[in-house]
Amino acid sequence: MKMKGAQIFFECLKREGVEVIFGFPGGSVLDIYHEMPKHDIRHILVRHEQGAAHMADGYARATGRVGVCLVTSGPGATNTVTGIATANMDSIPIVVFTGQVPTAMIGDDAFQEVDIIGITRPCTKHSYLVKDVNELARVIKEAFYLARTGRPGPIVVDLPKDVIQAQTEFRYPKKVDLPGYHPTLEAHGGQIKRAYQLIKKSRHPVIYAGGGVIHGDASEELLQFAEMIRAPVTSTLMGLGCFPAEIRDKKGKRSPHPLWLGMLGMHGTYEANMAVSNADLLLAVGARFDDRVTGKISGFAPKAKYIHIDVDPTSIGKTVEVHIPIVGDCKNALQKLIQTAEAEPVEGLEEARAPWLEQIGLWREAHPLRYAFDPQIIKPQYVVEKIHELSGGDAIITTEVGQNQMWAAQFYRFTRPRTFLSSGGLGTMGYGLPAAIGAQTAFPDRLVVDIAGDGSIQMNIQELMTAVCNCLPVKVAILRNQFLGMVRQWQELFYEKNYCGTCLADSSPDFVRLAEAYGAVGLRATKPEEVEPVIREAFAIKRPVLMDFLVSPAEGVYPMVPAGKSISEMLLT
């Protein structure tokens, strides 16, 4: 039977198991919208296309499935670019369908024509301009396959209007045929053996885990292997949740996991940065030695031999020299390491590791994450701690960017993968609210909280309307410090306290009334004793709630490694 391109589009999406599209219509995708009601796919109408891309991204991070968004040509397409770049930096599988002017008009500067393939080429894993309806099914199949396999990433599919209007026989290909694309998933046995020999010999090992552990669904293996070799574990911002910060005993009482060091890097914990600085072996798993992690490269784990597991060969040896590179899927590599360790356990491990773990304990005691509680004014860290406590540590947390993001990373003790959604690589303010909506779409019954700053939240606040209209009960906690706080912190420390362009005092809307104007619930806390009641109330309401916490304006995020310094050179207060 012949089908129109628009119908083929939906048939393909169904076969890919797509349950929701985040979209915004316009002239060039009207045929798709015309077709939409005939198909059993949920459409979430966003209020800005950037929001659509972040929602697809949040959906993907929370579920591990491919997120989908659909926008019109021209400005609809360009509005997604920040979202695409965000997903690209953090290796998130999304497929962005953009409308395009009819093929005959491409290149004519037609109304709402833009070369979105050209614009997004540097920030996508791959992209397609579909010029013939006969290619549509194959391209969609490939797009989903590419998005989720290997190192995941965003794919753009540009759909000229005449292509989605044209008809052809629908056949969905069973297999993809991509002669240039064969990601190495199987870790090399010889390399695994060599790596394990190094691990066996090491006295001060540290596992440095990144987002790849989450993408590769390798958290269980990571925990198992770390416990087998009794190696402490730190993670990047992207890796948070890949290793349990806390464990529960049979009565449900929570205690810190003894091998967990917390996050490392610029705002990492003292013990994580000190452990890495003194390690004799660094096992990097699905992490990419990003500059926010390493600080000054020559000062990063200077005493250590490096083993690096990553599915993307370009990540290995890019910024640091690696002694044992292992290209492969994190899960596969860790499974093989576990097998090797089972066959060949380290003798006297307890005693061998004791001094190292003791030393780490001393570092932790000397400088734990802390802040000074103040009965007069709300400390932002206190709000995060309370959100952690009152959510039972079980919420999906998204963040905006800045101090709010770092406090969320430091003070919410993540125990499961896919519960911390944050723009790490690109650092996109405005990410948190739409990402929360995307996650909530996937998990309508879970608690989803966006920990936000008063600056960032306004970058996509319009999506509150999307949450309200679609009955998505996301919670937003604004840590209103009346500054672009993280930038203010840099000005305080490195720019002579010249707070140019960063003060938001008296220049934010009344967030409670704004929430109400959108049809959400607005709550406010201005004193420490109001924090807990506000959070409790918000969590009990099955509608979107925006919490406005007036917090201390001068609070800084510490520890902090100043740019260009080694990570052992932390400012502690």
Binding site: G118, L129, K131, G180, I297, P313, K318
Partner: protein, 166 residues
Amino acid sequence: MENSSKHRHTIGILVQNVPGVLARIVTLFAGRDFNIENITAAETHEPGLTRITLVTTGDDHILSQIVKQLNKLINVIKVFDFRDTEFVDREMALIKVRAEAPTRAEVLRIVDIFRAKVVDVSPHFYTLEVTGNESKIAAIIELLDQIGIVEIARTGKAALARSKKH
């Protein structure tokens, strides 16, 4: 990473001949601050496949990144990193040179020595075609420049590994 010395390198790239494939390669080089000294691209004998030869500069570390990043492009089927392989490379240049009565004989002598060809003749100019490796092309240009080169068009390099395909 520590810096080994910078070198020129020739890289062969076999790609699917799909729209935008060259743009992807060039975007990659521009975006990552890799250098392209010259680049050639043309279809191969196999339908749908294009072979690109590219000359770049960089130390070993950069070259490794270039090779890996190229391999990561979905439409790139194979990258030939000639670092550890012997290869042959050739380039063709069209050179329009001033050829008035007093210099004509000299131009023809140079043509003869370099096994070049005269492919176009006009009252004042000869256009020469010369094929060879880099040093040969450089040498003829140097000689002809003393007589008077008007214009040059060079193809850039084409390169293949010696003997067996690798």
